[in-house]
């Protein structure tokens, strides 16, 4: 409760939370408000927005309704952003904890692998991965996570290296706890806060990467994505700019919302830490 | 005896996790010039809060009631450039004007000794506006300066590692104090720092000037912290658990160092400790704090030999000296 109130103390956090809440509502209500295929043809092609009640944001080149496309696009953005970030944090935390806690050869090997991933630009990595395996939602999530887990891994390892030397880890060894249990039950939970602070950056980056992949035509073809919508609109950018502007605005607001809300969480935690 | 510092009805409250915590309740005591006073108590007794309050180091969120009056020698502040004073001063340089006039006169005609009250710290230091205008008959008089940490008060903390800057050479840290408060040039300040390192008995002061804190042992770091604390020739030295993190032998060395420096410079010492036996070896008077209250205050031999308060007796009985009856025997257990 008090953590929540601290979170809502900054106006940025409130704005971020509102945007995120709106996004979640859009994603959750999309199948209820707009049942059926959002990619079905609904009216005349290239109808400008605010002309008819039934098609409030107009239609695209093929006569598809833009509003349901935006709502269903929110589903993809949110799903890919959260799933990819969760996967990246999970892999990163596990790799970092193992490397930091085990030390020696295991540490060396894991960190050189991390180096290798970090030296390749994460977008190129995702691009190559999707081009080879083929575009589908799961592959896109995997491709994005592949380039994003190295940051959490490094932060987790640094934190684990300092926690490893604490008395309570020695205490856990003295009572005969198994090293793996020490690593994942005693050390990892206490190493998590700085790793989780990265999550907003990772979610935002994942949403942008997904949009970029879709823009290049490497998104899941069976799903509406904001990146795909922008790419669609590009061909008629002069005559019907709204086709690119609406998903563009949605994308900007979403990334901004994720950042601001993430900052709010980090600051709330910082206040709590300084109090204790 | 003349008082250097007079504390009246001092209460300090903190807000912690939404709960008001009272750290000090109505403490009144005088610190006399050139005395060695020990403030002892267990954890949560408020002894460190008292030291911080005296030094003006309490956090802005602390609610302070009561008053702290200083009686510093008239020339104490003359060495420092006035420009640095108003901002850093723990009492914001405010002083009762009527009192000030009288004392300015006193100092001019050279009567009544060389002491004058410098800064009555009025009411809540951080939230003073809550007081009515009638009580705020205060005016800032630039000439008279409030006690200033570093110049008038030297403070030695428990953990020398965290009170020294890890990336600044030792010599520079000490020289900076001398330069800021004594108006010395850098070469003069470095010469002063070298003398100080010699005075606190660090081996090879010349080499130590360029060393960093991590290159020294805990005891050596505490010697450096003491050198920095006395660099500007303060009237009052406050040592807050300054030997608690050290082992017995180093502790004894630091205590004898403090005793010698205080005697040589005619400083007043406030020694904060949890160890009544250690305090007794150093102090002429002892104040015993418990749960933020002053339970007993008196001359050392009276506190040790004829404690009036039951809590003081408890502390004395809990001391395990080299002459006490071993607990092993009391229990009747033997291997």
């Amino acid at each position: 409760m008090s953590r929540l109130s601290r979170f809502f103390r900054t106006p940025e956090a409130i704005a971020g939370a509102l945007v995120l809440a709106l996004l979640v509502v859009m994603a959750l209500t999309a199948p209820l408000l707009f049942p059926g295929d959002p990619q079905a043809i609904a009216g005349p092609a290239l109808l400008p927005p605010f002309q008819t009640w039934s098609l409030p944001l107009g239609t695209d080149r093929l006569g598809r309704d833009v509003l349901p496309e935006l709502f269903h696009g929110a589903r993809t953005s949110l799903a890919v952003g959260l799933a990819a970030a969760a996967a990246a944090l999970l892999i990163g935390a596990a790799v970092g904890t193992l490397a930091g806690f085990a030390g020696g050869l295991i540490d060396e090997v894991l960190m050189r692998i991390t180096d290798a991933f970090q030296t390749v630009p994460s977008f190129l990595l995702a691009l190559a991965f999707v081009s080879i395996v083929g575009p589908s939602l799961g592959v896109v999530i995997g491709a994005i996570a592949l380039g994003a887990w190295t940051g959490p891994a490094r932060v987790a390892r640094a934190e684990v290296l300092s926690i490893r030397e604490r008395d309570y880890v020695a205490g856990a060894r003295v009572i005969g706890m198994h090293p793996l249990e020490i690593a994942f039950r005693e050390v990892l939970p206490n190493a998590l806060p700085p790793v989780l602070a990265l999550s907003s950056v990772i979610v935002a980056a994942a949403i942008l990467t997904e949009a970029a992949l879709s823009f290049l035509g490497l998104g899941d073809p069976n799903r509406v994505t904001w990146g795909g919508m922008i790419a669609e609109g590009r061909a008629v950018l002069r005559t019907a700019p709204y086709l690119s502007i609406f998903p563009g605005i949605a994308l900007v607001l979403t990334v901004l919302g994720v950042y601001l809300a993430g900052e709010g969480v980090v600051e709330g935690n910082a206040v709590r830490r300084s109090l204790s | 005896m003349t008082a250097l510092l007079s504390i009246r009805d001092l209460s300090v409250r903190y807000r912690q996790d939404g709960v008001d915590v009272t750290a000090l309740k109505g403490i009144s005591l005088d610190v006399e010039a050139s005395e060695r006073l020990a403030i002892i108590g267990e954890s949560g007794s408020g002894k460190s809060t008292l030291a911080l309050a005296a030094a003006g180091l309490l956090a802005g969120s602390a609610k302070i009631d009561g008053r702290i009056d200083w009686f510093l020698p008239a020339n104490a502040g003359a060495k420092a450039p006035p420009s640095v004073l108003p901002d850093i001063s723990p009492s914001r340089g405010e002083i009762g004007s009527s009192v000030a006039d009288a004392l300015l006169a006193t100092s001019k005609i050279g009567e009544g000794g060389d002491h004058k009250p410098i800064s009555p710290q009025e009411g809540e230091m951080s939230r003073r506006t809550e007081r009515g205008a009638t009580e705020r008959r205060l005016s800032v008089i630039g000439e008279i300066q409030a006690p200033l940490l570093g110049r008038d008060i030297g403070f030695v903390f428990q953990d020398p590692s965290s009170s020294l800057d890890p990336v600044m050479p030792i010599g520079e840290q000490i020289a900076e104090v001398a330069r800021t408060h004594l108006g010395l040039t850098w070469p003069e300040a470095y010469a002063k720092a070298k003398t100080l390192l010699d005075r606190v008995h660090l081996p090879d002061p010349e080499a130590t000037l360029g060393a960093y804190p991590h290159q020294l042992s805990g005891g050596q770091k505490q010697r450096v912290a003491i050198a920095a604390a006395i660099a500007a020739g303060p009237k009052l030295l406050i040592a807050d658990e300054a030997t608690s993190a050290l082992d017995t032998i180093v502790q004894a060395e630091i205590v004898s160092l403090i005793r010698r420096l205080v005697a040589e410079d005619g400083m007043t010492l406030v020694f904060i400790s949890h160890d009544i036996a250690l305090a007794a070896t150093l102090a002429s008077r002892i104040a015993v704090l418990r749960h933020g209250e002053l339970v007993e205050f008196g001359k050392t031999h009276q506190i040790i030999d004829a404690p009036r308060h039951a809590y003081t007796r408890t502390l004395l009985d809990a001391h395990l000296g080299l002459d006490a009856e071993p607990l092993l025997d009391r229990q009747g257990a033997s291997a």
Binding site: R166, D167, Y168, A170, G171, A172, R173, V174, I175, G176, M177, H178, E186, P189, N190, S276 | E42, S43, S217, G218, L246, D247, T248, I249, V250, Q251, A252, E253, H274, D275, I276, A277, L278, A280, T281, I304, D305, A306, R313, T314, L315, L316, D317, A318, H319, L320, G321, L322, D323, A324, P326, L327, L328, Q331, A333, S334, A335
Partner: protein, 259 residues
């Protein structure tokens, strides 16, 4: 019969490129229900010896025999199982526990790991352990950071005795406590020793405390054992330079009237 026999123990580190001996050829023995104190200034190697004896560090040379068997020969699961008999209490009771732990979890871990009690039986065992160290069973639900320092150190002792050890290493276990609490903790330790026949390796820089609770003492200086014997005799009349310095440095209360 001895509980712990340490012979010719050595541990070297490199400091600033130069090798230096943290522990240098140290030997001692501890019998059942006996308290052996290791005394010395900081850097004398007493905490390193504690960590070597507990296999938190590996020695460069020497032998550690625990309950008649070579303790250094153990590894993996065998070592973890053996740890039940050799426990430790740390100096700072807050740092010694996972900051997220509750009292119940702290005491549950050793019972679970060593299969001492079934899941259903454990809450009762935890309550009994808390009672044994003078705490109420209602404390079990509290978080470690919510209870006082003295209570925490009692919980640490409860964890140490949960597996019925024959030896507990007490590394400055009472140094961080208030004097009034310190007395009670020392009484508790002595009571446990008498009732359960536990031996203590008692590490402290405070000769007053050592004299009060230890049978024998080993005085260390720069990693070497320079003097040893019956605690009261050694402290009453130290022979080594460091022993004399430690005695001289111990604050003394010269009370003319006694309670």
């Amino acid at each position: 019969m001895t509980v712990l026999a340490v012979s010719n123990l050595a541990k070297r580190y490199r400091r600033g490129g130069k090798p230096f001996a943290a522990v240098d050829d140290v030997s001692f023995e501890i019998g059942p229900a006996e308290t052996l104190a290791l005394a010395g200034p900081s850097g004398s190697g007493k905490s390193t010896i504690a960590r070597l004896v507990l296999r938190l560090l590996e020695p460069d040379a020497g032998r550690i025999e625990f309950e008649g068997a070579d303790f250094l020969a153990l590894s993996g699961a065998a070592l973890r199982a053996r740890r039940a008999r050799l426990q430790m209490v740390f100096q700072d009771p807050l740092a010694a526990f996972n900051p997220r732990a509750t009292v119940a979890r702290v005491l549950d871990d050793p019972l679970r790991i060593h299969g001492i009690a079934s899941r259903a039986e454990r809450p009762r065992r935890i309550a009994a352990l808390l009672e044994r160290v003078g705490l109420g069973a209602d404390l079990a639900a509290r978080a470690i950071h919510e209870i006082s320092g003295g209570q925490r150190q009692r919980v640490a002792i409860a964890r140490a005795i949960a597996t019925q050890p024959s030896l507990i290493v007490l590394d400055e276990a009472v140094s961080a406590l208030d004097v009034s609490v310190r007395g009670q903790i020392l009484e508790l330790l002595l009571d446990l020793q008498r009732q359960e026949r536990i031996a203590y390796l008692f590490i402290s820089h405070d000769l007053g405390v050592i004299r009060a609770v230890a049978h024998r003492v080993v005085i260390l200086d720069a990693g070497r054992a320079v003097e040893s014997g019956v605690a009261r005799a050694v402290i009453g009349n130290p022979q080594s330079a460091i022993g004399k310095a430690l005695v001289a440095a111990t604050p003394k209360l010269n009370r003319t009237t006694r309670p």
